[in-house]
């Protein structure tokens, strides 16, 4: 192989962009077909293909970065920019749901009784489980920072323990939210209050599950000695994402649970 005179990653041909595109198409059109004709064949096919693509594509990236040495400092810089842009797009995604919430709640229409929460809606008490959830997520923000510093200092055992604690706190949050949803005295079909509440907190919950999975992958990679004290961008990206999810919760808590009740 000819000598490469630069530090950039020349990627090999890969089938995953194609299978990912086909998977996404099958998943969206399959879901529409499920809605209209009650058949889940295409949706299931799309889900399986998408999950297989995600697993194998990310497995390849781990191999390229960890074992083949393709993630040189300039490549890591590109990964950083990519993650920053991705999280920025997520900020705007959530901004849309906050816009919907404030649009509906700042000037409640006569149909709602001209008040918020609307007439007939009993909101959740913000100082019960939601406050505990706030404490749980803030604590997980501390433990993920502890994991990062342990990683940088080469404290393997502490890094594993604090990362495990972060993931457990994430699961505890998800468990508490599931309980809240089950016990909630209103539903997503109870007008604009239910719609804005469940769409905003539901997408946040989905992001907590994604963030927990991301951290769980980092946990497995840490156990398998994939990270060094100087090269662990996968972990940093997961930590950034986790902090983002944490901040979204603070806005949800203050706006929807507290002010909105």
């Amino acid at each position: 192989m000819a000598h490469q005179a630069h530090a950039y990653h020349m990627v090999d041909p890969s089938p995953w962009p194609l299978t990912g595109a086909v998977g996404a198409l099958l998943l969206t059109s399959g879901t529409a077909i499920w809605f209209h004709f009650h058949s889940i064949t295409l949706m299931t096919l799309g889900t399986v293909l998408t999950l297989l693509t995600m697993y194998q594509w990310w497995r390849d990236i781990v191999r390229e970065g960890t074992f083949q040495g393709h993630h040189t400092p300039p490549v890591q810089k590109g990964l950083r920019y990519g993650m920053i842009l991705f999280i920025t797009s997520e900020v705007f995604f959530f901004a849309g749901f906050f816009w919907a919430f404030y649009h509906s709640s700042l000037a409640p229409t006569p149909e709602l009784g001209g008040c918020w929460p609307p007439t007939g809606i009993t909101a959740l008490d913000p100082f019960e489980v939601p406050l505990l959830n706030t404490a749980v997520l803030l604590a997980s923000g501390v433990t993920v920072t502890w994991a990062h510093h342990s990683l940088m200092e080469g404290e393997r055992k502490q890094a594993i323990q604090s990362l495990a604690l972060t993931i457990l706190l994430g699961f505890y949050f998800t468990f508490l939210q599931a309980l809240e949803y089950y016990e909630a005295p209103f539903t997503i079909a109870d007008g604009v209050y239910g719609s804005t509440f469940f769409v905003a907190t539901g997408f946040h919950g989905l992001h907590v599950i994604i963030g927990s999975s991301f951290l769980a992958v980092c946990f497995v990679r840490q156990v398998l000695y994939h990270f060094t004290s100087a090269h662990h961008f996968g972990f940093e990206a997961a930590a950034w994402y986790w902090h983002f999810v944490d901040v979204v919760w603070l806005f949800l808590y203050v706006s929807i649970y507290w002010w909105g009740s």
Partner: protein
């Protein structure tokens, strides 16, 4: 006071400018006066005094509200499904 409101009602031509509702859309103005009229009636009736001063609010909401809204809200009040707090 009673003479004041009587004179005001006699001089009523249309809903005056209300600085609480400065926008072109007067939905909230209509809604608030509909609520105020029924709150006023409820309050004065419970005190056993003349409810005539409440008519000011009625004039305003009759001017501002579409007839169909008032019919809908009156029906909801009869059924006990009106969402506003009176």
């Amino acid at each position: 006071m009673a003479e004041d409101i009587k004179g005001k009602l006699e001089r009523y031509r249309t809903a005056p400018f209300d600085s609480r509702f400065p926008n072109t859309n007067q939905t909230k103005n209509c809604w608030q006066n509909y609520l105020d009229y029924h709150r006023c009636q409820k309050s004065l009736e419970s005190k056993g005094v003349d409810v005539a001063p409440c008519d000011w609010y009625k004039r305003v909401y009759k001017t501002l509200c579409p007839i169909s809204w008032v019919e809908k809200w009156d029906g909801q009040r009869d059924d006990g499904t009106f969402p506003g707090k009176i």
